[in-house]
């Protein structure tokens, strides 16, 4: 029997020890009327050989595209040791380290992870992960509301990943949190500071969300925004790309020295770029960090270092009084299982890359994206939307809707970018492209060739691409 080790002799020995005549008898407390019949809708069992073949065929059918999509998930080189080690049974098949003494491996790893997140973000405290970047933002918003209960309004500029805004809404709306979306500066592709200013009337917002680099890949003027928010007694929730933090100012240092209140208050983001494969969207992990002052409002597990009865250092889950298993309806969040295995992968990834490696990844991504933008904007009908300093994504404007162009590219084996038509119609025929360190010159050339072809096709709509600041 697959995965069941009992021999007939075991079954009868065990039943007689129990004093039951049959296994069925063990279910005699279930009312007959409720009992299920055969699960006819389920297929018969497959052997591993069969399921392996099925999955291999399905994977082959999906094939591989040359990927230039980012928009929240990024294709990076993943060092071979990362998953070779993360899938070791001792990590893969353990659970939340409730029994600290038998889980020092996982616990120390999480402590190291928390330390790395603190180092990247410039913050004092990090948790052991949340589900993903989007839900981490939702938790950050709820946390901000707890930290600043006077208000239930959160400002989310339209420069923030629109799905993040949606998820935050799905999750936080039940606690009557209101989200106010503020406009993009169409010339720079950054948050419009004026729109922001006009959005707060008096002092009634709890927090401002700043994404750096923003959804378009552009770099926000984080010091100005942070100072403004703090001056207006808003908390700053930073949504950051962890790779980019190798070169960009860490949220813990956002704002001017003079402000006397440097640093974002809550930092969160998507951990996927740190060694986690794209894999159709998950599992990824969300990271979160904050100031020590707010730590008791932070959701999620936290590992602390302590000592044993003999004075030997060791690690254990700590500050559990924030959590659902202790605090129940008064917990900071309902989160229980988080994304441990991905944290394992990310910790190994960051250990392998180190400060220099990560910096070079970040620099390479930035350079590759510039190369891509240059190659594509040489094609008639394609232009860059912004000239703002950016990281590894760029908005391109086309002389026609992006969707058929992207479809034509896909037919040529290229996942060409993310169509901004639905989420950001104000930008015109816009699409978001991304090139990471994985993209060689030949790949960029291949994209440019395919794009040239695609743009040669008859187009539904005419007109040269409009750049909004023209």
């Amino acid at each position: 029997m697959p995965f069941v080790p009992h021999t007939p002799a075991d079954v009868s020995d065990m039943l007689s020890a129990i004093g039951a005549g049959s296994i069925d008898e063990l279910f005699d407390e279930i009312p007959e009327a409720l009992k299920a019949g055969t699960l006819h809708g389920l297929p018969a069992a497959l052997r591993e050989m069969e399921v392996g073949r099925l999955l291999t065929e399905r994977a082959a059918a999906d094939g591989r595209l040359l990927n230039f999509i980012g928009a929240g998930a990024y294709e990076h080189h993943i060092p071979a040791p990362v998953w070779a080690i993360a899938t070791r049974g001792e990590f893969y098949s353990a659970y939340t380290p409730y029994q600290a003494e038998a889980s020092q491996g996982t616990l120390q790893l999480i402590y190291e992870y928390q330390s790395m997140i603190c180092a990247l973000t410039g913050m004092e405290a990090a948790n052991a992960s949340l589900y993903d970047g989007a839900s981490a933002l939702a938790e950050a918003c709820l946390m901000a509301i707890r930290a600043k209960p006077e208000s239930r309004r959160i400002l989310i500029p339209r420069t923030v990943n629109p799905v993040y805004a949606k998820v935050a809404q799905t999750i936080a709306r039940h606690q009557n949190v209101e989200f106010e979306s503020t406009a993009i500066d169409r010339r720079t592709g950054r948050t419009d500071p004026d729109a922001l200013k006009s959005s707060i009337r008096g002092n009634e917002a709890a927090a401002l969300v700043i994404q750096q680099p923003n959804f378009f890949g552009n770099l926000e003027e984080i010091d100005e925004l942070t100072d403004w928010a703090h001056a207006n007694r808003l908390l700053v929730i930073a949504v950051v790309n962890p790779t980019s933090l190798a070169i960009f100012k860490p949220p813990g240092e956002w704002g001017s020295e003079e402000s006397g209140n440097r640093g974002a208050d809550i930092v969160c983001g998507e951990g996927q770029p740190l060694g986690v494969p794209l894999a159709s969207g998950g599992p990824y992990f969300g990271f979160m960090a904050t100031r020590l002052a707010h730590i008791r409002q932070m959701p999620g597990r936290i590992v602390g270092r302590t000592v044993d009865t003999e004075g030997r250092p060791g690690f254990t889950l700590t500050l559990q009084a924030r959590e659902q298993h202790i605090r129940r309806s008064k917990a900071t969040s309902n989160i229980c299982t988080n994304q441990g295995l991905l944290v394992t992968a990310a910790t190994i990834y960051l250990s392998l890359l180190g400060p220099e490696g990560l910096e070079r990844v970040a620099a390479s991504c930035a350079e590759r994206t510039e190369s891509l933008v240059q190659a594509l904007t040489r094609i008639p009908g394609v232009a860059a939307a912004f000239e703002t300093p950016r990281f590894h994504e760029a908005v391109l404007l086309l002389d026609r809707p992006a969707s058929p162009v992207l479809a034509a590219l896909a037919e040529r084996g290229i996942a060409g970018g993310f169509d901004l038509g639905a989420s950001h119609p104000e930008l015109g025929h816009a699409m978001l492209v991304c090139a990471t360190e994985t993209k060689l010159d030949q790949d960029i050339d291949a994209y440019a060739r395919a794009m040239r072809d695609a743009m040669q096709l008859p187009r539904g709509e005419r007109g040269r691409p409009r750049r909004h600041h023209e």
Partner: protein, 494 residues
């Protein structure tokens, strides 16, 4: 070395400036070819490099390999952690979910038909198993599934303009995520007690159910390890009061193929695919908390779902489900976890599914019998164990001044991971024991022998328990100090 140190140093203490796993770095930008980039102004740049470790590839491999040796895990130890279903995670699930084509797919790339076929079939299988009419795979763990479920209940009432319904009834024994979820969804929690046999106190339920009732959250078998056989009665009471029934599927392993939540009258259910369907626990996730709903809640399922039209699979989103409670994740949930569950379920098939609950129950009932024979007290001796059961050490704690925690720690010395301790909260000094169907009788016997030995130790040398564990990488850790002298991140130069 005078002071005892860590068994394995912190990775930061292995670091040295200038070291690195250089072959993992991207190719150095070739001076000649380096592209002019849009200049990034100094004010947006980082002043100094982050203090990440600088180690060689071998150092990293060795460090994390050695850390792994400090863990108990299913692959290396019996792990009867109640409510967590620590069953064998077939290696095939990981192997095939990690095929390069699956891993390399961007979530926003054109819809991958092979992968989506798996997801669609997974939805269908979960419907069949739970007796539900619609399934969404997007919640990323049990707690998020609960959130989706309660949010759907709220959306349902709201759509009917029944806005006064803001109370969620939760039995005392419920898992902490249940009340926490209710709060997250803006509801008030109404706790009801359990009766002597671990059942729901029906009178209390009747008393609390009413026009403010949004719904009730139940685990069945409950976290007390017993089946609520008056479930039809419970359903009647709640439905009559106008509320809906939420099924916490964490204990689905107990009833797979035996009784379906849909048939018990539940309107909505979450499943823990990382428990019942054996995706890895990963040291604390990732999980997947797929939700299933009956007809009333179909319009509210969290997006995206996988649909199929004319043989083509596609994601269904806001457009197709305008009343959805919305998105819960940046993309489509823990896709890779769902894929692992799919592989597992295909390997079990129709016949294997029911075997899961049968042998989980056999193992649990056998253990309960043997432990009571060894002198331990079952919390609900008159009841069958489901896939798990509780023993209470209330007598032992009085007689020998040892706690459930002492027993748990001492078990580690016998090479067995401890059961869940101090949950559910309402049974004093309890151990919640879930052996799962994938363990052999010999492994169970070894556990019972260890427990018998520990019982003898209680009487003869209780200090051995109180000072346990003795053979782990560390002795018992000081949790209080961990809170008082908070140290949650390495700092340079310490």
């Amino acid at each position: 070395m005078s002071e005892p140190g860590l068994r394995e140093p912190l990775i930061f203490d292995l670091s040295k400036p200038g070291r690195g796993a250089a072959s993992q770095f991207p190719p150095a930008p070739d001076g000649a070819e380096a592209r002019r980039t849009v200049e990034i102004p100094q004010r947006l740049r980082r002043a100094s490099r982050p203090r990440l470790p600088e180690v060689s590839e071998l150092q990293a491999v060795r460090h994390f390999t050695r850390l792994s040796h400090l863990n108990f895990s299913i692959d290396s130890h019996f792990y009867p952690l109640g409510s967590c279903t620590m069953k064998y995670n077939p290696k095939a699930c990981n192997t095939y979910a990690m095929l390069p084509e699956f891993l390399s797919r961007h979530p926003l790339a054109p819809e991958p038909q092979g992968f989506l076929a798996c997801m669609f079939e997974l939805q269908e299988m979960l419907k069949e198993i739970t007796g539900m009419q619609g399934v969404s795979l997007s919640p990323m763990a049990g707690a998020q599934g609960e959130f989706a479920g309660v949010a759907m209940i709220r959306a349902y009432h709201r759509a009917r303009n029944d806005t006064a319904r803001t109370e969620i009834i939760v039995p005392q024994a419920a898992h902490g995520t249940n009340p926490a979820t209710a709060t997250m969804c803006g509801c008030t929690v109404k706790e009801i007690p359990c009766d002597r046999n671990g059942g729901i106190d029906l009178a209390a339920l009747e008393a609390v159910a009413g026009p403010a009732t949004a719904g009730i959250m139940l685990t069945n078998p409950s976290t007390l390890g017993v089946f609520e056989h008056r479930i039809a009665e419970v359903a009647r009471i709640v439905h009559q009061a106008g509320g809906l029934l939420y099924y916490d599927g964490a204990n689905l392993n107990a009833i797979l193929g035996k009784v379906r939540p849909g048939d018990m009258g539940f309107d909505v259910i979450h499943m823990n695919l990382h428990k019942t369907f054996s995706t890895p626990h990963g040291g604390g996730g990732p999980g997947s908390g797929a939700v299933g709903v009956g007809p009333r809640l179909l319009p509210y399922l969290p997006i995206p779902l996988v649909g199929c039209r004319d043989g083509r699979y596609r994601w269904l989103t806001e457009r197709e489900l305008p009343s959805s409670i919305g998105r819960l994740s940046g993309f489509m949930g823990n896709a890779g976890v769902n894929l692992r569950a799919y592989v597992y379920m295909r390997m079990l098939g129709r016949q294997g599914m029911v075997r899961v609950s049968e042998f989980a129950a056999l193992n649990a009932n056998y253990l309960m019998k043997r432990l009571t024979a060894a002198g331990y007290e079952a919390a609900y001796p008159a009841r069958r164990a489901s896939h798990e059961f509780i023993i209470t050490l209330r007598n032992e704690s009085r007689l020998f001044e040892v706690t459930a925690m002492d027993v748990a720690k001492r078990l580690l010395d016998f090479g067995v991971h401890a059961p869940t301790t101090y949950f559910p909260l309402l049974v004093p000094e309890c151990l919640l024991i879930e052996p799962t169907e994938t363990e052999t009788k010999e492994e169970l016997d070894h556990f019972c022998d260890a427990m018998s030995e520990i019982r003898r130790e209680m009487e003869r040398e209780p200090e051995k328990l109180r000072s346990a564990p003795h053979t782990m990488p560390v002795r018992r850790l000081d949790d209080v100090r961990a809170v008082k002298q908070l140290d949650i991140a390495w700092k340079p130069g310490r």
